[in-house]
């Protein structure tokens, strides 16, 4: 095999690797548009779509934040730097039964094995609550996380794409994002999400 052919093969392999990595990144993003119709029925809607240049803006601003005396900001910086996209859709309803099983199934269908792995599942028949956490792994690394919370009066889907340090997210301070960082996002109504 001459030098030229070998170089071409290396180049082709590199391109293939890049495309695979990109494909994995994009594959972690879920199609959540089918939930948009629930916005009219919901009392509270939170819709966050953050990727590409907007996420880069956010990362650059968060990295400039002063972490003096605030462990959360340091934690936040380490979480956000590996992310490629954050997508949240959360609907809170005044009455139960406002969303259908099909709405949830449309999301769940995208979280099928073998790509996605369900790591946590819990259901409560009394409260009609069904919660799941899915993980997308790329070798040893986490390439995406989806949290699906389906309660009688609430439906929340959190889809995070990229290297997601779940343990760090779970360990963020209780007050994180509350008083210190008031949200001005474009969601319809401010979500009342805090610790349940």
């Amino acid at each position: 095999m001459n030098h030229k052919t070998r170089m071409l093969r290396i180049f082709a392999t590199l391109i293939l690797c890049c495309m695979t990595a990109r494909g994995f990144g994009q594959g972690a993003k879920l199609q959540l548009d089918n939930l948009n119709k629930l916005g009219d029925k919901a009392a509270r809607v939170t819709d966050v779509t953050l990727d590409g240049s907007l996420l880069s803006f956010a990362v650059s601003l968060i990295e400039k934040m002063d972490e003096e005396g605030d462990k959360d900001i340091a934690q936040l910086k380490s979480i956000i730097k590996g992310l490629q996209g954050i997508y949240v859709k959360s609907f809170e309803f005044d009455a139960p039964g406002q969303y259908s099983k099909a709405d949830v199934e449309a999301i769940r269908a995208q979280l099928a094995a073998p790509r996605w792995t369900r790591i946590v599942q819990s259901s409560d028949k009394h409260t009609n609550e069904h919660d799941e956490i899915y993980l997308l792994k790329n070798g040893e690394h986490v390439a995406g996380v989806t949290i699906l919370v389906a309660e009688a009066r609430e439906l929340t889907v959190v889809n995070i794409v990229g290297e997601v340090p779940i343990d760090k997210i779970a360990a963020l301070e209780r007050h994180f994002g509350g008083e210190k960082n008031s949200s001005k996002s474009k969601h319809k109504k401010e979500s009342g999400h805090d610790d349940e």
Binding site: V158, I169, E196
Partner: protein
């Protein structure tokens, strides 16, 4: 006009310069020397005038010099102020141009924080529902 040889000969014939020719020549040379010394003074008429003014009216000359100095200082100050204002104006314009981008970035940051807040909240909720111990750090805080 036609000249004959005799005419030319008569015209170019030696003539006696007369008595005291040498003295007259020397006198003219001396006179020319004396005139040569005073000539440059005539040429530098302007500085001579100022020098003359300085000699005649030193106070006035000082006053003119002071006014000129003040004029230059004031002009320099005004120019520096003008440049300063111009730079400040340019900086304001630059910041004004960056404002929408900055607002967009701040909005994106707030959205990211909100999204992570929801993610944390839901993650911990699901873990609690599934009766999986939440991270030790959080347990410690809750006990506190």
């Amino acid at each position: 006009m036609h000249f004959s040889d005799d005419d030319l000969r008569a015209a170019l014939k030696r003539k006696d310069p007369g008595e005291g020719f040498t003295q007259r020549v020397m006198a003219r040379v001396e006179q020319a020397k004396a005139e040569g010394k005073t000539q440059p003074a005539k040429k530098s008429n302007g500085s001579g005038f100022l020098l003359g003014w300085w000699k005649l009216r030193p106070a006035w000359a000082l006053a003119v010099a002071a006014i000129l100095l003040l004029g230059f200082a004031w002009g320099g100050y005004e120019y520096a102020e003008y440049r300063h204002q111009q730079i400040a104006q340019q900086e304001r314009q630059r910041l004004e141009d960056l404002k929408p981008q900055q607002e967009e970035a701040e909005q994106a940051r707030d959205q990211a924080i909100l999204a992570l807040r929801i993610a944390r909240s839901k993650l911990n909720h699901v873990l609690e529902q599934a009766q999986i111990p939440v991270p030790a750090d959080k347990i410690r805080r809750q006990r506190l």
